[in-house]
């Protein structure tokens, strides 16, 4: 079997040009938009690379594990491909078409030059390897995507909690969007760091930018307030509109000792009183 596979590999190598041509034709027909985005030259460099690896990998036993150098090299090629496609917003199905259309380029060559008795075996092994390529590409594509998403998340998290030093020993944190446990954690870290650094006595959390305040959000706010309290600071929550007050009471949420105000200016006024300060007459 191994020697037959070597023969097939030699055959493919011999008709490389023909295969590539057929593949490119397939790509132009089946995924025109993809070709428009990455361009024929670029596509050619990928198809060529993939086919070369295919020819090297084909004779190897299927059980050969991924530690093999050639496998890792082709993984690099795939990650290159996926990276390029992800950054260009190319859909996963088009990437799949890109790899699978290789079948339609390789199989005709096998049909043309291999005897009938060996044909089905050859097609199965070739198909298997191409499937494997597709799976690898997909995995790498997903990893690339995940990496991008987590990077974006981190970037978003970083900008999502600004701290404003509104007055001597008073800091203010405007909360915007969803307040889930992860962001609460981050917000508390940011708040406590600012309290520690500035030795501020009051932290004003403004929730005007939080669209829905439910039991869970309320619990997060209470947690944040107890954290400030543990450190020895006071926490005032501002931006409690009538709607929020209604919902909280209807939900039976008890904010406990947490001080709340409707407007930022009321909150600031209270903060000034707590720190024994006055704004000039």
């Amino acid at each position: 079997m191994a020697s037959e596979k070597k023969e097939i590999a030699a055959l493919l190598s011999k008709y490389q040009e023909e295969i590539l041509d057929a593949w490119h034709r397939q790509l132009i027909v089946r995924s025109n938009s993809l070709m428009e985005i990455i361009g024929l030259t670029e596509a050619k460099s990928f198809t060529q690379g993939i086919l070369e690896h295919f020819i090297t990998l084909f004779p190897l036993a299927e059980t050969e594990n991924d530690e093999n150098k050639s496998y890792r090299e082709i993984d690099d090629l795939f990650s290159d491909l996926s990276g390029k496609m992800t950054s260009q917003n190319i859909s996963p199905s088009e990437i799949a078409v890109f790899i699978f259309s290789m079948k339609e380029a390789v199989f005709p060559i096998l049909q043309k030059y291999i005897d009938n008795k060996d044909l089905s075996g050859a097609i199965i092994s070739a198909g298997r390897l191409i499937d494997r390529f597709a799976v690898n590409t997909f995995e790498i594509y997903l990893n690339t995507r995940e990496k991008i998403i987590s990077e974006q998340q981190r970037a978003f998290m970083e900008i999502s909690v600004p701290v404003v030093r509104v007055w001597h020993r008073i800091i203010m944190i405007p909360l915007i969007g969803m307040l889930d446990s992860e962001r609460t954690q981050l917000m508390m870290e940011v708040m406590l760091t600012a309290l520690e650094d500035t030795q501020s006595k009051v932290a004003i959390l403004d929730i005007s930018g939080i669209p829905v305040v439910d039991t869970l959000v309320a619990r997060h706010l209470i947690t944040a307030a107890s954290a400030a309290k543990l450190m020895g600071a006071e926490c005032i929550i501002t931006g409690v509109r009538s709607r929020i007050a209604q919902t909280l009471v209807q939900l039976g949420v008890d904010l406990g000792d947490v001080v709340t105000r409707t407007t930022m200016s009321d909150g600031l006024q209270l903060a000034l009183e707590l720190t024994g300060q006055k704004i000039g007459e």
Partner: protein, 126 residues
């Protein structure tokens, strides 16, 4: 293993915890503080934990208890200078030490003690 110094300044006791306490030395500290209050009749107790890097449920509970015991003896307690990492860990643990007075630093803590002990004094006079 070193000992924690208890300082008396004016009407207040100041306890800066500068070493890592194991359970028994923490219990001993509690006894020492209470004995000291008995001896001196201090009105305020300020415990500075700014050098403490770990407060677990045991030490947390011990501090809350100490404050309660001191309160029974007529002494107000303020805990000052808790590190932010310690705060977040306690919050994670679900230990919010609700009934404990806290302050950012010794200066704030002493000011708070002054207002706390002043208030009880006025109440008692009524």
């Amino acid at each position: 293993m070193g000992e924690v110094t208890i300082l008396k300044i004016g009407k207040n006791l100041i306890v800066p915890i500068q070493i890592e306490l194991h359970d028994q030395s923490a219990r001993k500290l509690q006894r020492d503080i209470l004995n000291y209050i008995e001896k001196t009749g201090a009105q305020g107790l300020l415990i500075d934990v700014s050098a403490v890097s770990i407060i677990d449920s045991f030490l947390g509970r011990l501090l809350v208890e100490t404050a309660k015991m001191a309160k029974l003896m007529g002494t107000e307690t303020v805990l000052v200078g808790m590190k932010k990492e310690v705060v977040l860990t306690l919050i994670h643990l679900g230990l919010t030490m609700k009934n404990l007075h806290t302050a950012l630093n010794i200066e704030d803590g002493l000011a708070l003690l002054k207002s706390l002990t002043g208030r009880t004094y006025e109440k008692n006079r009524k």
